[in-house]
Symmetry: C2
Amino acid sequence: MNNLKEKLASKGLKATAQRLYVYEALFNSREHPTAEEVFRKVSKVLPSVSLSTIYNTLETFVEHNLVNKVLSESGTARYDAFVETHHHIYSEKGEIIADYYDDGLAELLLSYFSKKKIFDYEIKEVRLQIICSTKE
Amino acid sequence: MNNLKEKLASKGLKATAQRLYVYEALFNSREHPTAEEVFRKVSKVLPSVSLSTIYNTLETFVEHNLVNKVLSESGTARYDAFVETHHHIYSEKGEIIADYYDDGLAELLLSYFSKKKIFDYEIKEVRLQIICSTKE
DNA sequence: GAACGTAAATAATAATTATTGTAAAAAAAA
DNA sequence: TTTTTTTTACAATAATTATTATTTACGTTC
């Protein structure tokens, strides 16, 4: 978490209480919370925080690559403090279920694409949406 | 397109003019249009059509797997009449650029996952988000 | 085939939700 | 103290969903 203070400083951003709590809320959750959910969490420790601040803060974090936006089919934005490349497991309904980390896969894919050279564009990153049936 | 009439019938859905035009609008575009864009297209041939109908129709199609929702970072839903597995190329800003079809890739991934057997869930589909820098 | 009843689909519009914009207040830094 | 950054409060917007009335399609009976 001190890590974050340094990162903020290195980007010319002030380490305010709001920012630290927002980041903490994200970092301590693997649920890819929405802005609203982050707001509720942060409100518990900082009751005066405003929802706008949550949005602003999340947006600032995304701009500075401290946080990723996670795409979801419902349209509501979700956020993730884990910015290293990883993949997401979705339900058949399009809702996100879990993270999936796999370095071997990244290598496999990048070597596959480097052989094919199919793109006009340079590939920055490859992320998987793994759509699974939830067995009950 | 007659194909669609049959599919609709098989799912107990009536083949109304609205549904056929909405589907046609999607099918004839590779732009993953938004509901609003579909609305404008359909309006040209069916001026009395309402935006609600577009939303309803798209939702009905998605429920019946005739159409897919495409993830996009702006939050606005985009739709795609191509339901066979394929992948999407995104800009670094998170906007969708193009489709990417690749059967070899699907095989590669499925064999990779079948070897690993890592999941509690059954994998239905694997889609890639390929994030590219747009070279200018 | 025309008239009738019923259910499905559509249209018009209101309401809601998520998000963004704006301006004032507060906090931090210089 | 002055200036800049950040936060707050609140207004505004955009996308989507919900509600209700109307229309349309379809099956049944005459």
